[in-house]
């Protein structure tokens, strides 16, 4: 399959098409990472892959440090492997190595470290200040805002609200979600302001965030001006204070599920 790419690298090619080992590289972390992420198109390579993955987990956090040396690169399979660890393994085996990379020379690595630490609330206390520092960089700002939201760092609220207005589209999405994660009803006015965003991706996460604030959002909406009416009634419907068909106002339209909630 690799020929669809100008790439000779069968394993990498397949790890791109599929998040995607010949044994013989045992020993170094690079060798283990290669076996653990290569396209395993033979039983032997699958066995080597399983062995390498187990060995890498056994050698955490040093194996994570080795993987993070390459996280900025083009190896999607390696990035997927590290994210699997981040999402499934205990914080004590993840956080120290990730936190070290908040000061990495490569912005891509700093960004990844901040993003990954956001999945580990226990990392907050020791690393909030360092992640706050990443708000100053365009490349790392979104990841930092996300992590700080997950950690419920109120001090980051001004930066989040600023990003909700000034950021590019995906940064505005991240900011709205972070303001939801903060759980502080003081953010409601900022979220209401985002209901008029030019793009639905931002409008709808802002609406969902408002729904999470319940009565505070309902009260604020009642007095807000310049809120798109269709958004206001749909938020009220998701809050349970208005029927969905009333919010839709058109018998030719029905709602399957909620307006904004998953």
């Amino acid at each position: 399959m690799s020929g669809m790419f100008p790439s000779f690298r069968w394993h990498l090619v397949c790890s791109l098409l599929w998040f995607g080992a010949c044994p013989g590289w045992a020993g170094s972390f690079d060798g283990l990472l290669y076996d653990a992420t290569r396209y395993a198109n033979t039983p032997e390579r699958r066995e080597a892959k399983a062995v390498a993955r187990a060995e890498l987990v056994a050698q955490l956090p040093d194996s994570l440090r080795a993987a993070l040396d390459h996280i900025h690169g083009d190896h999607v399979g390696l990035q997927v492997l590290v994210m699997e660890w981040v999402l499934t393994l205990p914080s004590e085996s993840m956080v120290p190595a990730l936190a070290e990379r908040l000061d990495d020379a490569r912005p891509e690595t700093r960004r990844f470290a901040a993003y990954a630490l956001g999945f580990h609330p226990s990392a907050a206390e020791a690393n909030t200040e360092r992640v706050m520092a990443l708000l100053d960089e365009d490349l790392t700002r979104g990841a930092a805002v996300r992590a700080l939201g997950k950690w419920k760092v109120g001090a980051a609220r001004p930066a989040m609200e600023r990003l909700l207005v000034e950021g590019h589209e995906r940064q505005r999405v991240v900011a709205a979600n972070a303001l939801r994660d903060l759980g502080d009803a003081a953010v409601v006015p900022a979220l209401i302001g985002a209901l008029g965003d030019p793009v639905f991706t931002v409008r709808n996460v802002a609406a969902r965030a408002l729904v999470s604030y319940g009565a505070a959002a309902e009260a604020a909406l009642a007095s807000a001006v310049d809120v798109p009416p269709a958004m206001a009634v749909r938020i009220r419907a998701d809050l349970g204070v208005m029927a969905a068909d009333e919010a839709l106002g058109d018998p030719g339209v029905v709602l399957d599920g909620d307006f904004f909630l998953p």
């Binding site: 399959m1 690799s2 020929g3 669809m4 790419f5 100008p6 790439s7 000779f8 690298r9 069968w10 990498l12 090619v13 397949c14 791109l16 098409l17 599929w18 995607g20 010949c22 590289w25 690079d30 990472l33 290669y34 396209y39 395993a40 198109n41 033979t42 699958r46 390459h70 900025h72 690169g73 083009d74 190896h75 999607v76 390696l78 590019h168 589209e169 995906r170 999405v173 979600n177 030019p198 793009v199 639905f200 991706t201 409008r203 709808n204 996460v205 798109p228 269709a230 958004m231 749909r234 839709l248 030719g252 339209v253 029905v254 709602l255 399957d256 599920g257 909620d258 307006f259 998953p262």
Partner: protein
Amino acid sequence: MMHQHYPTHETLAARPARGRSPARCLVLWWCMTGWPVAAEPGPQWAPLLAEPVMEQVDRGLGALAMTRADVRFDKNIGEPQWALGWVTNALVAVWPLAEVAEALIAVAENGEAAAWWGAAERWMELAPVEEPPVVWWPGPEDDRLAAALARFEQRMARAATGREQAFRRVAEPDRVYLAAAVLAGELATEDDEAARAVLAAAGLPRTVQERVEAEGRALDGTATALAWLALAGEVDRAALRQAGVMAQQAAAELAEALADHDDWPDVVTVRDTELGRIVIGTTGSDVFAGEALLVLDPGGDDTYRDGPGAANGLTGPGLAVVVDLGGDDVYRADGLLGAGSALWGVAVVLDRAGDDVVQGAFLGAGSALAGAAWHEDLAGDDRYRHGVMAQGAGQVGFGFLIDRAGNDMYDVGTCGQAYAGVMGWGVLVDDAGHDRYLAGNRKKDHERNDDRFLSLAQGFAIGWRPHAGGGVAALIDRAGNDTYVADIYGQGVSYYYAAGFLLDGGGHDTYSVYQYGQGCGIHLSLGVLADAAGDDRYDGYILAQGAAHDFSVGMLFDLDGNDTYTADHHAQGRALNNAFALLVDRAGDDAYFARQREQAQGIGNSGGHRDYGSLALLVDLGGADRYSGGFSNRVITLRPLYGAVVDHERDGVAE
């Protein structure tokens, strides 16, 4: 040159005029004025996004508290070093993608070879090449064959000049490396000793294969990827296309001039020229083998073994033409290059008549790697069977397979039946007949679907993530009851800054794919399937039938007929992970079946850890329809995160 990255068109529109490349000019023109006006598709085709369709799209968007502008949400989030400007822009401004499909249909209906070469120039964003005016020497007046050959040689001299111009900036060792970097992986040389020998025989020595295999073991391949792209960018693809034009014209003119010629030699004759050997066959059943500039055969059931019509610039002059005027012929190749394939070269096969068999173990029937290849068959029920990168396939080059008539069978392992890699153009056009297309059954889809096969075919284009976008692949079948069978990646699908199209005209057609296909974009990419008429069957399992995943765009248009759609999940207007998906069925009593109700039919999702939605529309404009999701006719149903099933009766027809 590579390293050109096209920003979003809002940015580009504001860019000062200085220093624009022709491609950028094209993109800027589009930004300001809309797409260039294309010839109208034929009568069976209506505009894919005609006003009645857009009215319903608008109704669906309105019901979602959106407008057309919302479809422009950001999907251009990659930073490839090379990508087509229009592909990049269509990720955001998605509607013109349908117009590209219409333009390709119009070219197919025009049918002229020149129109196809023009399309390649236009959609691959190449600068026009000025062909200096020339007065062709007519050749000796008293010898029709000699005169035709004289004109052929003159045109091929131009093709040779164009070829040299195209490759002038790439040194010989770099040519070997560039090709090995593609083919060592494609043929799995690391595991396959026979493949190593095949490549070595084609001019790609084992030492170079080992180099690229070693590079493939790096945990970060960025440096080698960028080096490869730099080399590929040194190929002058505009000049290469022009060389292809000249060779294809040379073959067409030769065939035309001699179509009714009746004075042929009794034995096969051979003449050596500066550009290579010219071989003239007989009206009997001849056997041709070995490299030649031209094999010209007047008729009979002939056999072509490795060499004729295969242009390998690594081992020879890199120009190869076959003109066969009649008979049931067999083209067979066991080596890397089959008839109608080019590697650092230009190849043309023109077969005017007969039920032919075209087989190649690997490349063939209009496939090019750093080359231009044209394979045209004018009549007969033909069978095409190849291993890989075949039947209208291009990478850093242009591959065309044009079959004008007959009930044909196409069989390829992977990467064929309209396939385009980086800087590639791959087109398969079948004008008539009830045809069957099979792609797969060679390479397992290990680790994802162990019991299934990769297809990567039937209008499939792919880039090199994250470094480069792919090209344009289009399979266009204009008529007949056709059957398309693919497994993983097939039928109007693409991957990473690329565009894949499957466009079918009349007939009751059957489409089958397991995963990734039938109007599907995967990872920042564009896929379109459009079917003009007939009672069609669409069968898929996952990510199919107007589906898109990961900042992509997928569209399926069915213009008429009573159609049946079946799938398991992520199908039938399903946008996954911040993508845009559209299924439009304009008429007929249709049925939409999906096993997983919450994963199909006009529905988005939350984007995983990205935590925001997509946009999906299933729009049905007529007929009494059935939805496994239980959706009602003449109702707009809003679905989660974010999507809608828009069922509309255009004429107020009751169910």
